[in-house]
Symmetry: C2
Subunit: 209 residues, 2 copies
DNA sequence: AATTATCTGTGAACTTTTTCACAAATTATT
DNA sequence: AATAATTTGTGAAAAAGTTCACAGATAATT
């Protein structure tokens, strides 16, 4: 057990899917699952599931399958979900407010403490559930309230500056929704979420198959 | 020219990135670009860029590079962006309203005609820029105003029903933001956007590297 | 006009990812 | 208690994706 082979990026990207699927099974009161059954629910192959899970040690049992609760707990641990995260959001437009008020994140342990915007008048609209401050206050705020994750929900032009302020303020991860590819430094992890990309993949397939 | 080899899904997922990068170059008034220069801006290898673009025929010129405007136009065409799309959104919560009011989509030719929600009182909040109707009216609406793309921005429980109503109403593509994996029928393309997934990939890397 | 620089297109090598196939372990059945 | 049915873990094969390396075409320079 606890083999910890090299875990490829392809496997890492599938882990959240396993976590979600196992959560659903748990809610349905299903205690054990075989790779075969899980493959049907997730649209993967059973072989791939076994191979993926095996990166983290032998968590299943021959002739039985996997214990749903135990496997989910272990994957949550691997994903770093056994702690809480402090989050600040830069940009209080539609996307920033949607992120700040989405209860699904709160349930996973992500707490949005504050939003920052060049135009703090946006505070009223929609009520994001956390205060909106002017962007000038971001650095001072982070000095007093350290944050783990910075969400960038600004227009493209402002994204680089927001990234700079956040990393200078000690944030260790950036979740970027602006339509630019922010490059990661070694001390800060970045995920660029290009919402438009998946929409264009849709239109590609509509047109080409 | 016009080779049209098999285009792998990996290439398709990179096309929107090319389109975006070329748009940026065009805005900066840059008329030609080599795979080498583009590789630096995009964080890919020059070789991969040449290989990718070559799927669609020889669009570059040896000793010169690629014509930015021409290449962007061609990729837009491949992505199906030379037409307009009618879009309906199911779910008028934070995500649904954010999608409906995001100007970036409108600029690409995606027009949100209406939103539908189990609770149409959501109409006032935030002002999504399109009318919000009760979900019961969706089928009748689609019969009169055919739509190309259906956006699902409901809670998990409601996503399957929304998908059924939309496909029955003749929608040919589903852009799903609900945290369930909708499976595609052959007549309807699906992209499941699991926003949470990229957040968990962030925490994975924060914890493990 | 000739020479040097640049740069694509492309087959081949290499790497990564996925699938196959089966021994070994466990559970269920008779 | 013995037999049959499941089901994982895993090495190896296959497939997919990426990088290398260079011939050949174009552009820039002398």
């Amino acid at each position: 057990m606890e083999a910890r082979n090299k875990v490829s990026e392809a496997v890492v990207r599938r882990l959240p899917g396993y976590y979600r699927a196992l959560g659903g099974l748990e809610k349905d009161g299903i205690a054990r699952i075989s790779s075969q059954e899980l493959s049907v629910r997730m649209g993967l192959t059973a072989s791939q599931i076994r191979q993926d899970i095996n990166c983290f040690g032998a968590l299943g049992q021959q002739g039985y399958g996997y214990n749903v609760t135990e496997l989910r707990r272990r994957i949550g641990e691997i994903l770093g979900l056994e702690r809480e995260y402090h989050v600040v959001v830069v940009g209080a437009g539609n996307i920033g407010r949607a992120v700040a008020s989405y209860q699904g994140f709160a349930r996973l342990g992500f707490h949005v403490a504050a939003l920052f915007d060049a135009n703090p008048a946006l505070a009223q609209h929609g009520g994001p559930g956390a205060p909106v401050y002017p962007i000038e206050k971001l650095s001072a705020y982070l000095a007093e309230h350290p944050a783990d994750i910075g969400v960038i929900a600004t227009p493209a032009e402002a994204a680089h500056e927001a990234a700079g302020l956040l990393t200078a303020g000690g944030v260790r991860a950036l979740w970027n929704f602006a339509p630019v590819d922010l490059q990661a430094g070694p001390e800060c992890t970045v995920q660029n979420v290009q919402l438009t990309d998946s929409l264009l993949v849709l239109t590609y397939h509509m047109q080409n198959d």
